[in-house]
Symmetry: D2
Subunit: 351 residues, 4 copies
């Protein structure tokens, strides 16, 4: 048996742990040959496929390492036209692949689904620091991202307190607010703003003002997809002498512009950016990613294809790829963590 | 309403987070007065009760701090005799307590149950770094302990590799092997030995020898309650000129004595000890402990007493104190993590 | 004896350690009364002075805490006019201060010098994460800032490698490149750009292209004061519908705009921002700050006023305030670290 | 030119950073061939030499890694007899080595000196977490060890405080107390005991009792070479049924036996052990080790042999191997850090 493995989409802590577990499990249990495909689906798209064999030694020592030893791509789509798709399938045949384990996010799962329909058996392993996979309670990489953000918030808290400032910190999470929510709670944020709940600038200002009165600084944790009621203020970036303004990533900067006139304290914004995607995975994520990888190997060996590994409660399970493609799991408005936040006095920017 | 809060038993990361959430939630939602009892049940046992009022400011800034601001005791038992019990109840009455939130382990829950039967309404919050609470999938403090142990394993891995040694690291977990299991997996241990599975010294040696042959060092992670088949070898500590040998805590040292004669590599043992109980909680544990504390406050406000907060799947729930006292949750022999470990080639010391 | 203590200027890890050492040393050795002035010199500028007494207990447990328990201000200048200066001196007299320990940066030292000339004996303790104090080989806060930046670089390295990208990370250091230099070396940056050496965009691009050819990603670490030869490109930030563009902090963004057209790889920029100023100090900085604080107390007790504590080699010493005001210590162009960087193949952007 | 590199003696964070800098600097500046010798001097002692070539790629990515990619040995001595010495020299000749860079501690430097006298040009790079190299103000690995110990102390502080206990933590440092001194100061220890100052048990107990009276826990940091006045109490370890007691490493356990009868609080001892030697180096140590490695390469290229790299003040320098062999640098009794400790109220166990 010959099994391919690839990683697609953005970087995420735990990818190497999945690759290691898939490989060790297949090597040990059924003596399969494991072929790493390089740079995601791009590795099946050029003149010649880009691969590297994965044996026991090549995956030793990678559990702790961030990133992916196979490389990744977040643009390559072998289904973009018929010729490219045919070439990818031809590469898979020439490599003698009996199946492919595809580790990636939404986009990768959608491509995997299409590849499966063309006849290459697929097992998907979901990957996102955003924790927004449908049907999956907790995805690897999320715990690490929360830890990175929480540490940053702690640093900002000491500066906020020393200066009596309002500190705004922007986290990743375009469609779902999981990172902002958990890191905000773990970092003792006073206000947490999520894509799921349009916020009132005035409500945020009211919290900060009440704290100013008590001699306290404030910390606002905002997910990058959060919007004020009535529509987002845009902040543009413009290179001098260039006619083209570019939208600035930071909702934190926009919020700062809105809040500053309403407050006495200085308001400062920090956009954490790419640091949230990288680095060594937390122990929690290493264990979770190892389980995901091993489960993928079990599905391969059981011949259960065209499914994606998931975590339901504390149990690993799987769902048909068809059911999960192109969906995103937001924080439900009745989620216990939202209730907890409100009950202990954390504002969600609600009017 | 006047609510008491106390922490009992051994130190555990997240205790302050629970105290903070209980207090903020009660203050904010029902304007209760919250009274901290100092040093666990010992605070109700002396001539005068030892207390400190808990208001908003006194619990600000403690979320990140390890330990418990209220102090704890792991010996004080107000139920040891009738007179002491009567005195404790009298103290509770004189303080005007309408209910008591007791945060602690097995012993604390058993006492809480007895106190409840004498008429003081109780809500229990389980606490253990060992993760062995019956009816509770994940307890706060465990994730932090796993992180501390994993970091230590990583340090030992580099030394083991540099010297070609067999490194043994002993973790806490007298009755249950959760810490050794998860930290062992997260730290890429080659052998994981748990209280739940008596190990074969020969099986452990065989793994190390096979790795020696491949020029590889080995790392063995052993929970303090693990035993070899045929009974444990005892290692004693003796102070010179004293007639009394004392049992040495370390099963790691005993295993070292057993393994060394069977191997060419040097074998070194490290007992991690109390560092596993202390320090700032991980973000995961801060969020979990905050939820536990808030849930305890909700139970108090709903008048649902003599119950202990639990986590089932991802949902908070509660169980009657009577059902949970004096039990311990071991790693079930069919637990997916055990299966994962075996499938990726980690030895559990099985023959 | 009554001694005042204040912290001025931007946040810096180790301020609490200085406050603690000053206080403990004075209390223990001469039984002085120690008075904390709140919010820097602002605490001497209002209607009534803002103070809090500092005894043994109030400085216990603060060694590990980031920020300053006294608060700080980076705008308040009691010398801005004669009336304000007179009021500050009157407050100092009414508080009965025999001397003042002023912990802060350039600005604080300049004010301290002026205050000293008006008759209040001063001991200065220099503070900067930038390590650019004249006459002081290593200032506390710098090691922590380097550690924070290095950790961020490590995270960005894994993402850069996984995607084959060029990652740019911008550090603090407006006038001096110490942070970028040490964190760049510690984080294995391929290019380090400093305010002290104007860089050639083409030289930077050449390094990245050569690495592209070898299938390698690149990491560029740039201090915020670094400039390209021929003058800096400005990147502006503009709030929609507002007529006023604001200069965007990030030289990283400007460099990205310059580099991207010259390279095949994607280029990404990260501005670390305020996280570099906050958080718990490293052990190195705790020890250093403790020494600075204790030395300040010794100077007070020896009556050696109007001097600033310094570190020369491994020895504490002091310099007259008059000599250090309004100067900045850049990385000398013949510094051994620059030579080391070049010799191991790190580019400094030189043509 | 062909240059050998080896690492000898115990593990130490930063070894890989030295190997990387030596290699990159030699490759880049003079196109030398660099040959890694495996497992210290053992790699020159068997039938065939054990080596691996070191090129640019093989040392990429190792800066952050603990341990040594070349392996080490702390027993192999090629000078143990004439035949072995001759064989080692013959291996060096057969490998065509023009010089050897030997990275290691006391023992390695002594062997290096002997090898040099037999005609192989040597440059030594000192390595010790203990910081006790004569003529070298700060050695790499020390900062990391201090950070590891400080983190452990912090964890123990929270537990000590929660329980009102006396916590004893034993650090490495057989001959010199640098680690205990700096980590003790950074971790806010109340008592620091060093090999350089015989301690009075009664003086230690007095500090703890005074703190008990004020409701405070105590933390004692003790270097493994510290001794009480009047001679050390020995604690033995005895395997049941074995006639041979073994000396237990822990002076912490001995101190515990001595202190407990004098105190009301529970006393607990923790021996940190091998974790102090391993793990990723701190940024400080990465920079320092990089400088040491680069300086070694410069000495090789300048033909300055039979010298050891040192750090004097902030400047790299070198000393003749003959001057440094078999000496150890203790904490001088007039060292400023000892004075600082006493002045801020930290006890050194003096009567």
């Amino acid at each position: 048996m010959r099994i391919g493995v690839l990683t697609g989409g953005g970087d995420c802590p735990g990818l190497n742990a999945v690759i290691r577990a898939v490989t060790k499990s297949l090597l040990r249990q059924c003596g399969a040959e494991v072929i790493g495909i390089r740079n995601g689906f791009a590795g099946l798209m050029g003149e010649v496929p880009q691969t590297r064999p994965l044996d026991w030694d090549s995956v030793s020592g990678i559990l702790m390492q961030g990133g992916t030893m196979l490389g990744t791509s977040n643009k390559a789509n072998p289904l973009r036209d018929e010729a490219t798709a045919e070439q990818a399938m031809a590469h898979a045949r020439s490599l003698g692949l009996d199946a492919l384990v595809a580790i990636g996010g939404d986009g990768t799962m959608a491509i995997a689904h299409g590849i499966a329909q063309r006849g290459l058996p697929i097992v998907g392993v979901p990957k996102t620091i955003d924790n927004d996979i449908v049907g999956c309670e907790r995805s690897f990489g999320f715990d690490t991202a929360v830890a990175t953000v929480t540490e940053a918030i702690e640093r900002l808290q000491t500066t906020g307190q020393s200066h009596g400032r309002v500190m705004i910190v922007e986290t990743m999470g375009r469609y779902a607010g999981w990172i902002a929510l958990e890191a905000g709670l773990a970092g003792a944020a006073d206000v947490i703003l999520l894509p799921e709940i349009d916020y009132s600038v005035e409500a945020v200002a009211a919290v900060c003002r009440e704290r100013e009165r008590r001699g306290r600084h404030s910390l606002v944790c905002i997910g990058e997809g959060a919007k004020p009621r009535g529509g987002a203020m845009t902040v543009e970036r413009r290179v001098a002498d260039s006619p083209d303004p570019v939208r600035l990533g930071g909702v934190a900067h926009a919020l700062r512009e809105q809040l500053q006139p309403l407050l006495e304290s200085e308001v400062r914004a920090t956009v954490l950016g790419h640091v949230q995607r990288g680095g060594t995975p937390t122990p929690f994520d290493r264990v979770l990613a190892t389980q995901f990888g091993n489960e993928a190997a079990q599905l391969v060996m059981a011949g259960q294809f065209n499914r994606m590994v998931t975590l339901q409660g504390e149990r690993l399970a799987s769902l048909p790829l068809a059911e999960v493609a192109h969906q995103s799991r937001q924080v439900p408005l009745d989620h216990p963590l939202l209730r907890t936040a409100r009950q202990i006095g954390v504002s969600l920017g609600e009017g």
